[in-house]
């Protein structure tokens, strides 16, 4: 091949690089290793992590069973090793699954359109905020303190340099739901959108429609956020919301120490052209057969460049496919039964613990231990091979004696009983 290229050595291909920028040594990295050694390395790292623990952690990342079919499907080379489906004639497999994904997200959220995925829930929120700003021509975002704290941090990072003001509104000490009066006070004609989460960070179901009414009165949009997709199997979606931004990790996406996950944005038809991210649409091929392709690309960076609705390019396609398979496996009955089991488990655990808030909750709730430190309690639990809840002090100073607990279909009664008993001591 060198000959064909008319060079005598591979080095010749780099001879035009200025010598002073060349690296005149090998990279200082260990020599290449075998499959066996590499998997041994990662198994050893895995063993340093928590294994064999029961856990009551949620807070945006949930411990749900992953049906075997999920990896069976995403491991097929035809899905795993294909690129973004720009060439529709040899990408109908991916395109069809995206179209099905978009449809199922609409069915779950009650929205009219959904995109093909965002990086994750936390980045979907600022994208939704920017979208609202474009639509309303306003630049102020009101965000609930009951939105996931890390989501709020991401929102602030994104908003900061776009002249978008981000202001928070509070929650009621009794119910742990958004403080509608506080929201109403802060709403003004510059407000592009009100952003809240339901079930909120405390696991409590918000009255999104009430907040939406307030927002709409001032010409602002309502952005609803979800982190626990399983709740949608049981919860009435917020019909009054204008945009829904969510995280699908609960749908067969392993926690994987924080990612990759899949975010999504759903909204009303009329806002499509302001939507970020890829969209698959239905059309026909030259034989008149139904076919799918990526569409409305004029919103996107590769066409619109600095005027694009977002800079997103690579998204989370394969992860979204996991969610698609998950939704297919559970289906209509399954998503409901699954949600009901989560509800029952969390309520069983809650029934044995001191709850902080009175609001209705799904599979997470805040437990308060006046005078005790959540860290100490978690320490006791570790000895029982249980990872307790998330101490809330770091995010909510006023809740420093509280922890956020989660129970899912994977939590056994036995584990929950042990947790309660250890506490009782």
């Amino acid at each position: 091949m060198l000959e064909a290229c008319g060079v005598s050595s591979l080095d010749d291909f780099f001879s035009h690089l200025p010598p002073d920028v060349r690296l005149n040594r090998q990279l200082a990295l260990p020599a290449g290793q075998s499959e066996y050694e590499i998997s041994a390395y990662f198994r050893a790292r895995a063993d340093q992590n928590a294994t064999g623990y029961a856990s009551f952690l949620g807070a945006g990342v949930y411990n749900h069973y992953r049906p075997v079919l999920v990896d069976t499907v995403v491991s097929r080379g035809e899905f795993l090793t294909s690129y973004t489906p720009y060439q529709a004639e040899i990408s109908q497999g991916t395109l069809t699954t995206i179209f099905e994904f978009q449809t199922m997200i609409c069915q779950l959220t009650g929205m009219e359109v959904a995109n093909a995925s965002m990086y994750c829930g936390s980045t979907a929120v600022p994208e939704a905020g920017m979208m609202a700003a474009r639509i309303t021509g306003r630049n102020r975002l009101l965000v609930a303190r009951t939105l996931h704290p890390e989501y709020r941090e991401v929102l602030k990072t994104y908003a900061r340099y776009q002249g978008m003001a981000v202001e928070e509104f509070g929650y009621t000490a009794g119910h742990g739901t958004v403080d509608l009066d506080d929201l109403d006070r802060r709403l003004d004609d510059k407000t592009a959108a009100v952003i809240l989460q339901s079930p909120n960070f405390f696991g409590i179901v918000e009255s999104v429609d009430a907040a939406a009414d307030l927002a709409h009165k001032r010409g602002a949009m309502l952005i609803d956020v979800f982190t626990e997709a399983v709740s949608l199997g049981l919860l009435e979606p917020p019909r009054q919301a204008d945009i829904i931004a969510g995280e699908l990790q609960s749908f067969a996406i392993s926690p994987s120490y924080g990612g990759p996950y899949a975010g999504v944005i759903a909204t009303r038809e009329k806002y499509i052209r302001q939507m970020p991210g890829r969209l698959a649409g239905e059309t026909k091929d030259s034989h008149g057969n139904r076919a799918y392709c990526l569409t409305l690309a004029t919103r996107e960076q590769h066409i619109r460049r600095e005027k694009a609705t977002s800079n997103i390019c690579t998204n989370q396609a394969l992860i979204a496919l996991m969610a698609t398979v998950f939704m297919t496996v559970y289906g209509k009955q399954g998503v409901r039964e699954l949600a009901e089991q989560n509800l029952a488990k969390a309520h069983y655990l809650a029934s044995r613990l001191p709850r902080k808030f009175a609001g209705p909750f799904f599979n997470e709730f805040v437990a308060a231990f006046p005078g005790k430190s959540p860290e100490t309690i978690n320490g006791m639990m570790l000895e029982k091979k249980i990872i307790g809840g998330l101490p809330l002090g770091r995010y909510y100073p006023e809740l420093e004696d509280c922890m956020l607990l989660c129970a899912t279909e994977m939590s056994t009664r036995e584990q929950m009983d042990v947790f309660a008993e250890v506490l009782a001591q």
């Binding site: 992590n49 489906p85 990408s91 649409g281």
Partner: protein, 493 residues
């Protein structure tokens, strides 16, 4: 005549919703071991939905057949060459998939105690060190989720840095050959974009650059090798010019596959850059993602890196949240850990020498294709190619055949097309990046196919204009799709 493929029956398959029939199920849940809870009582009737309307109901075998059948409609790296320029579609060792699924890694919760997360943190710190060595930069954050996300992070770092010096400045310079994410990113970071024209060698024009760089310029976003696959030979000078006016140089590292082990951005004056782990370091692209876009910076930008920062504490590794000058978070948690695992596995499998060899093979393959095809397709820029080569459809356009037509015809020959009509500075571009994992055999078949198509264009352009013929789906009408968007299935009424 077409020796790479033959046509074969493939199964049709309706949408899930058309397949669905009431009562079917593909799941089973464990029996509930706690008392059931009445949802309307617990949540309030108004909060409880009747059902998820239209949601599918299929059996397990229908589910697996559905996705298996659909998968057979896709092209993939596992099936053949995938020469998308700028995408680095290399083969992805399956070992990476296996290690990413090891229980203690795949099921690690981001909030589990740091004392019980040391394995995950060690992996992250090992990758950070490797990337520092590979890029020659001083610090790395693994938080960004993809390249574009890394760009945003990087530009925010520049902004925060300049702000700390008193003035964030107004604009970002971007060569007209740049990828669309560059200008899009600059805009989100609140900067005005000024495009700068490339010279006829497809590189940055130094005079022009010297003229446009001023105190309003926050940074130059440069891709090196650029999207023509050409190494900016004056890169050091370019950095000097930019720095001379107190601006920063951002390097889009999407094309690092051409440089690893050969030269390091940190050694030629770059201040900040992102890497696409899902390209250079082989995470399978999965039909569009996931990715991971670590950002590497020089010392002066380190204080501004996103929260939290992985640091060595007395009791092992820990996350540092106490960094007042940080830009904040760009993503919840710590980054796309699963992709980080794959990238580290890839680097471990290759080692320093292996990575360098991969780079050289990637450049060899691109140059081989360039050499074999330059007699048949127009080569608008003659500067030496690195990991990819860019032709134009100038000759074929005379017959009314465009790069997209040639791309579609390639499908009949059994290949995924190259990247079509990018970079924008080449009219009707054919952007070809074979990567190092392709065999001479596959390259020769690809070259033969493009030569055969060039002949078809001469002899009977019609053939090419109506392609593809061999696929189960004929040429797709994208215009109608955009004109009357149908973005979800609805029951026929």
């Amino acid at each position: 005549m077409i020796s790479k493929v033959r046509s074969h029956v493939t199964q049709n398959e309706p949408l899930l919703f058309e397949l669905s029939s009431p009562g079917k199920k593909a799941y089973q849940l464990p029996e509930l071991d706690v008392p059931p809870v009445d949802a309307s009582k617990a949540l309030g009737a108004e909060h409880v939905r009747r059902e998820v309307e239209g949601f599918p109901e299929v059996s397990e075998v229908e589910a697996i057949r559905h996705f298996t059948r659909l998968s057979t409609w896709n092209y993939a790296i596992d099936l053949g060459l995938y020469p998308l320029g700028s995408c680095t579609m290399k083969y992805n060792p399956r070992l990476n998939e296996a290690v990413a699924r090891i229980e203690g890694l795949a099921w690690a919760h981001p909030y589990q105690p740091e004392s019980l997360s040391q394995g995950a943190m060690e992996i992250m710190s090992a990758l950070e060190s490797a990337l520092i060595e590979i890029t020659g930069m001083d610090a790395v954050t693994l938080q960004p989720a993809a390249g574009a996300h890394g760009e945003l992070t990087g530009i925010l770092l520049v902004r925060a840095y300049l702000e700390s010096l008193g003035n964030p400045r107004k604009k970002i310079l971007i060569p007209d050959s740049a990828h669309g994410t560059n200008p899009a990113t600059a805009a989100i970071a609140g900067y005005a974009v000024e495009n700068i024209k490339s010279n006829d060698r497809g590189m940055i024009d130094l005079e022009l650059l010297a003229r446009v760089v001023d105190e309003d310029v926050a940074a130059l976003m440069i891709t090196n090798p650029n999207t023509l696959g050409v190494f900016e030979e004056q890169i050091a000078r370019i950095a000097e010019i930019v720095h001379s006016k107190g601006a920063q140089v951002y390097m889009d590292g999407a094309n690092m596959n051409a440089l690893v082990g050969i030269t390091r951005p940190g050694d030629f004056g770059m201040d900040v850059m992102h890497l696409n782990l899902h390209k250079t370091f082989s995470t399978p692209h999965g039909g569009g993602g996931p990715g991971s876009g670590p950002v590497a910076v020089k010392k002066h930008l380190e204080p501004f890196l996103p929260l939290p920062r992985l640091t060595a504490g007395h009791a092992g590794l820990r996350f540092d949240y106490d960094r007042p000058r940080a830009i904040g978070r760009v993503k919840a948690f710590y980054g796309n850990f699963g992709v980080i695992v794959r990238a580290l596995a890839y680097i471990m499998a290759h080692g320093g020498e292996g990575l360098r060899n991969a780079t050289m093979d990637a450049v060899l393959n691109a140059n081989y294709i360039r050499k074999k095809l330059e007699g048949y397709y127009e080569l608008p820029h003659r500067a030496p190619s690195m990991h990819e080569c860019v032709f134009s459809d100038a000759r074929q356009a005379k017959q009314g055949v465009k790069t997209m037509d040639i791309a579609k015809r390639l499908i009949d020959y059994g290949f995924h097309p190259y990247t079509v009509s990018f970079p924008l500075i080449v009219h009707g571009a054919l952007m070809i990046e074979p990567t190092e994992t392709e065999s001479k055999r596959e390259l020769d078949l690809f070259v033969a196919a493009l030569i055969a198509i060039a002949k078809e264009v001469e002899e009977d352009p019609e053939i090419v204009l109506k392609a593809p013929y061999g696929t189960r789906t004929g040429r797709v009408d994208e215009v109608t799709a955009a004109r009357k968007p149908v973005l979800r299935w609805k029951p026929a009424d």
